[in-house]
Symmetry: C2
Subunit: 374 residues, 2 copies
Amino acid sequence: MRFKILKTDSTSSARTGIVKTDHGEIQTPIFMPVGTQGAVKTVSSAELKSVKTQIILGNTYHLYLRPGTDLINAAGGLHKFMGWDSPILTDSGGFQIFSLARLNKITNEGVEFQSHLDGSRHFLTPEKSMEIQRNLGSDIIMAFDECPPSNADFKNIESAVTRTKVWIETCSRYLEEHPPIYEWNQTMFPIVQGGIVPELRKRSAEDVIPYAKCGIAIGGLAVGEEKSAMLEMIELMDELLPKDQPRYLMGVGTPSDLILAVSRGVDMFDCVMPTRNARNGQFFTSIGKINIRNEKFKSDFSPIDEKCNCETCNNYSRAYLRHLFNINEVLGLRLATIHNLHYYLNLMELMREHIQIGDFQTWSADYLYQISME
Amino acid sequence: MRFKILKTDSTSSARTGIVKTDHGEIQTPIFMPVGTQGAVKTVSSAELKSVKTQIILGNTYHLYLRPGTDLINAAGGLHKFMGWDSPILTDSGGFQIFSLARLNKITNEGVEFQSHLDGSRHFLTPEKSMEIQRNLGSDIIMAFDECPPSNADFKNIESAVTRTKVWIETCSRYLEEHPPIYEWNQTMFPIVQGGIVPELRKRSAEDVIPYAKCGIAIGGLAVGEEKSAMLEMIELMDELLPKDQPRYLMGVGTPSDLILAVSRGVDMFDCVMPTRNARNGQFFTSIGKINIRNEKFKSDFSPIDEKCNCETCNNYSRAYLRHLFNINEVLGLRLATIHNLHYYLNLMELMREHIQIGDFQTWSADYLYQISME
């Protein structure tokens, strides 16, 4: 994998670039739709392409439990299994264990947990996470880290930083000893932890940077902390992380988060927000969010967003979409997902364009004002 | 609306034809996907087109209750409301009242019922059914008839035949006095009732044929009677109904039903089977039905049907589709629906081709044998 910076903004840390993978190029800054269980919920691969998706994220925890590593290996990897021929990033499984599963024990060797599906017991180690991700065949493998909860105290965050350091070393060694299974390369991104404690963030960055070959992730943010604290941490990361590698801010975020993080030097994002909110009837528009179940849209035959040219806005009215949500018709979930993903990916494209032409800061100030008008 | 017969089979009553409507032409024999509530469940208008859908069916009962006649009128009719620019046939609402709603009273004036959604009381009359269908703006309006249950005795079937005669006269007069609301024509199909009693079928046919201008429907079949009895009734209808009008067999049926009915002179069909069964994981194939939840498909990376070229078979494996059903991912419901609709519409196209080239009877014998091999 290689990363090339195309343009750096003169008044902020925003930059455009290209990540080259064996499954194609990714224009950054980029947003990655979340395909939790081998599918971005409600949409097909062709639809992901139609909204200009360049890379998707797959969840190791979910895929390990269902359909299982062996089956995806037998299919020839996750790309082939799900019919997606562009890049894939997989997470390490750690975050879901900490948030979804019943956690039994954490040691320096790994994490013992019970499946949220059937209560079955599993032991996930750095080695096993790497082994699963090798079998999934993702272009970008995430290191196995410990992500402490937002209410963790200094001691717990420090302990997670230390364990993350131990584990990244294990991950790195395992991958050196076990080359890719399929005929394409895989690149591991280390993850910086440290909560919102500058001292620990700095220590974690120093710990994991040596393992970053082409890409590094900022983990442990957007877990409940104040937005100002999150932005401060991103600024600190911008100072500390190598400029010549893509930076991935995990699990972020709202449209305004994306803009504010891009201006602070972040290149890659993932979040369930566009897809999950879609399934709850919430649409993102160029002038803010709307909830389609609202009575005021009952006889509104205009599209969700007059300025949008997605399949949903080109063909269907607010009144019709509201009807689909009222009758619980799954077509509605999909049309909403298509619109929201189009919105997110179009927003990233707008940012790339404005960084490229040199007016990113004035454009983003206007845009942030517009979407706050909802 | 006009109907033109293109070719009549020399060894059966099968024929090909063209129905011309103001929303375009329909090649017959044809199958109509069911769009109950203003959407064919799980699929978009573009997808309906991609599987070669020529005409869809809308349900008056459901649309009357939600989103309501006024809203669809405000949208400019059902075509515009749901983004479907090809022909639409709407049923009269009667069948759903008899099968879904709580029926309170039937008189010669109409039917009093309570909504299955909220228990609200409604009174549907022949006039009101016509008025709703005028507002929906369907190309083909179905007459308001009484469809007795499959276990009805002679007296009840006779009473339904008599009431159907009274009501068709009311429907016809109402439409004469109330021309179409929108800028296209609407044609009413009368419905023949009579259960599986030849004498009553004959009487009902004589009653309603005078009201058939371009199209007539065979109702009250596929409601639980023996298949042989259904086929006998279709044969009787083939003798009695005008040859120069399209015949629509309501609510039928399985792939073999379609073939057997086409050979008995039927031109149009509708049924929830391809879409409903899809949502239950049942796929129709050229060698019979398969249920994708079956364990034996776990590691089967071949498509649903090697001979099929639908979006689902072109892009996804049985193992992947099984996984989608296992995780209750709605993408699976849609990919199954696309495949099954493609199967049904492709089957109709095959029939048209074989009628046209003159080997319909030998082809259909082979095909019926193949799909019985499941």
